[in-house]
């Protein structure tokens, strides 16, 4: 696992995206990254830059803290990996 990894740290991006009915591809296009990057962020395999985190948060109508803030009780992004690969 490389330095870009978020070491499996949980975040709430998938939940927030799903709540808005957005697909990974739509979110990716909105924040100008590839869908694979959205997949990796949601799975906790990639720690986004502060700029990407801000863009994702703005597009999902949440704060960065809400999406990426530390909360041990938060569900891991890894629990929903079934839609990750295409």
């Amino acid at each position: 696992m490389g330095r870009t990894s978020a070491a499996g740290r949980a975040n709430r991006v998938r939940a927030a995206r799903s709540a808005l009915g957005l697909t990974q591809a739509e979110l990716a296009a909105a924040v100008d990254v590839t869908r694979q990057t959205v997949v990796a962020v949601e799975a906790g395999n990639y720690a986004p830059s502060v700029y990407l985190a801000l863009a994702v948060a703005a597009h999902l109508g949440r704060s960065v803290e809400e999406l990426f803030g530390h909360d041990p009780a938060a569900p891991s992004g890894r629990s929903h990996d079934t839609e990750v690969h295409s």
Binding site: G2, T4, D32, V33, T34, S49, L52
Partner: protein, 170 residues
């Protein structure tokens, strides 16, 4: 704690005026749209690091095999390969250093994973000395190169050990 790796602040103007960085950006095609996507860029950077390390190992291993198997006749080719690999590595180090990252700082380089590389380097240098002719320019050059490289390794090890002791005491 200030570390010796924190060599200096890098100003944006310094970067834009730096001919080396401009040339490196052109060689590396760093303005390619590919690098705009941050995860692509990060993953490719990691992949490039893997490739560079592999090139260092295979280059030294090939050079070592050449001098031990091919002897004196293969000496120019082995040294050329060794220098090519060294030049590529040097460019990478200079690029990082110009942007304020001292990858080659002894305290950072001197890790257990360096030991097998140093042993392979020692085998290469021993092979160069063994294969080099006893007299003439080629022989002198080979002995000089081997001695210089060995001295550089000793300086690196001593410097790294001293830095670590100083950091531990601080």
């Amino acid at each position: 704690m200030k570390h010796e790796d924190d060599i200096h602040d890098v100003d944006v103007d310094d970067v834009q005026d730096d001919w080396f960085l401009r040339a490196a950006a052109r060689v590396g095609d760093l303005t390619s749209p590919f690098y705009r996507e941050e995860r692509q860029r990060d993953v490719w950077n990691e992949a490039s690091a893997v490739g560079l390390q592999l090139m260092l190992w295979l280059g030294l291993a090939a050079s070592t095999a050449m001098v031990w198997i091919g002897g004196q006749e293969s000496l120019p080719y082995a040294i050329t390969l060794f220098c090519l690999v060294g030049a590529v590595s040097w460019v990478s180090l200079v690029y990082a250093r110009r942007l304020g990252v001292a990858v080659e700082a002894p305290a950072r380089v001197l890790t257990p994973r360096l030991v097998p590389y140093l042993l392979l380097l020692a085998a290469f240098l021993a092979g160069v000395v063994r294969a080099a002719p006893d007299d003439g320019f080629p022989g002198g050059f080979a002995y000089g190169a081997a001695g210089g490289a060995a001295l550089a390794v000793v300086v690196l090890v001593v410097s790294g050990a001293r830095t670590r002791r100083r950091d531990a005491a601080a």
